[in-house]
């Protein structure tokens, strides 16, 4: 007890600090290794996390493999670990899952004819928007008043001072 000399108040404070430190440690731990798996080094654990966040859980539509508790996500995480342990490169792991579950498992789908609509439709929409705005801009610049129109505007404005 380092705080024994500080009396009761000091002891309470350090206990409190200890509790906070402990819960932070638990929170950090809870956020990273899923399925209670230990990696040989921190780099491997980091690589594992990075890979998992690239894959979508096939069962749950909008959850990554890293965050999903679905049984299939557990199986796929085990598969990723097995491939990592076998020395597979990141690309090989991506290809392995994609061969089985299709582009759907990748949050960053590859560019190929089937995904052109997905990749290029935002660009096309932006192009349409630019074209419409440009047209509107040109038109506004082209609407200078003729002399007669200008006189009429002045007349109308003068009528109600």
């Amino acid at each position: 007890m380092g705080s024994a000399s500080g009396g009761t108040a000091g002891g309470t404070t350090s206990a409190l600090l200890g509790a906070v430190a402990f819960s932070c440690a638990v929170a950090t731990f809870g956020a990273s290794p899923i399925d209670g798996f230990d990696f040989p080094d921190a780099a491997a654990a980091e690589r594992y996390q990075a890979l998992l966040s690239e894959f979508r859980c096939p069962k749950c539509l909008n959850e990554s493999l890293a965050s999903s508790g679905a049984p299939i996500a557990v199986d796929l995480r085990r598969t990723v670990r097995r491939l990592m342990a076998a020395g597979a490169a990141d690309d090989e792991i991506r290809a392995h899952l994609r061969a089985r579950y299709g582009d759907f498992v990748l949050y960053d789908p590859p560019l190929r004819p089937g995904t052109w609509l997905l990749w290029f439709s935002p660009l096309a929409l932006a192009g349409v928007a630019v074209a419409v705005l440009a047209r509107a801009g040109f038109r506004r610049r082209g609407t200078a008043l003729t002399g007669a129109e200008h006189e009429r505007v002045v007349r109308l404005l003068d009528r109600n001072p």
């Binding site: 096939p58 199986d75 598969t79």
Partner: protein, 181 residues
């Protein structure tokens, strides 16, 4: 206002309506297109569910057109489609291999003796590794595998009479072999 400009909102509406209409024609968004159709059935070496458990590999599967049905006792839809699988076995003479997926073998054996066993044999995929190799993300899933061991078709969800009549049977006719039926 030019005519083009007046048509612009109508055109925009038309495009939007078209896209939304296409949305209606999509099937269940949870259905993933299968990446494995046209590819060889994966290698496996797993225990069988038989009374004295043996082992089965991919070699036991090739040589005949078969259905491979991924099922489990915890899967209510599997029970719902069980009658249709029995009918397919009985009436079409189709060979059906079961993959007992993430299940307890004793439960599975009891389930089969209670509800009938349409399978030629079952392999026990307790960990789900064959499931991963098959791109399985839920049970039931059913694969049509040709005599050469290539996956020709995959059904996610129940195989019912409609799926058989409209999807599997026509494919079998194309393959030119429907077991002995």
């Amino acid at each position: 206002m030019s005519r083009l400009q007046r048509l612009l909102p109508v055109a925009a509406f038309g495009v939007l309506a078209g896209i939304l209409y296409l949305g209606f024609t999509l099937r269940d968004p949870k259905l993933l297109p299968s990446a494995l159709v046209g590819h060889p059935f994966p290698e496996f070496d797993l225990p069988t569910l038989g009374a004295p458990p043996g082992r089965a590999t991919r070699a036991d599967l090739v040589g005949e057109v078969r259905l491979v049905n991924v099922w489990a006792t915890w899967c209510p839809t599997c029970l719902a489609e069980h009658g249709e699988l029995a009918r397919i076995r009985r009436e079409a003479g189709m060979s059906i291999i079961g993959v007992n997926y993430k299940d307890d073998p004793a439960d599975a054996r009891a389930w089969l003796s209670r509800h009938g066993d349409p399978y030629d044999f079952n392999v026990v995929d307790a960990a789900g590794d064959l499931g991963v190799d098959l791109g399985v993300y839920g049970a039931p899933e059913t694969f049509l595998v040709d005599a050469g061991g290539t996956i020709r078709y995959k059904r996610v969800g129940e195989v019912d009479r409609r799926v058989w009549d409209e999807e599997i049977a026509p494919l079998l006719a194309q393959l030119g072999a429907a077991g002995d039926g």
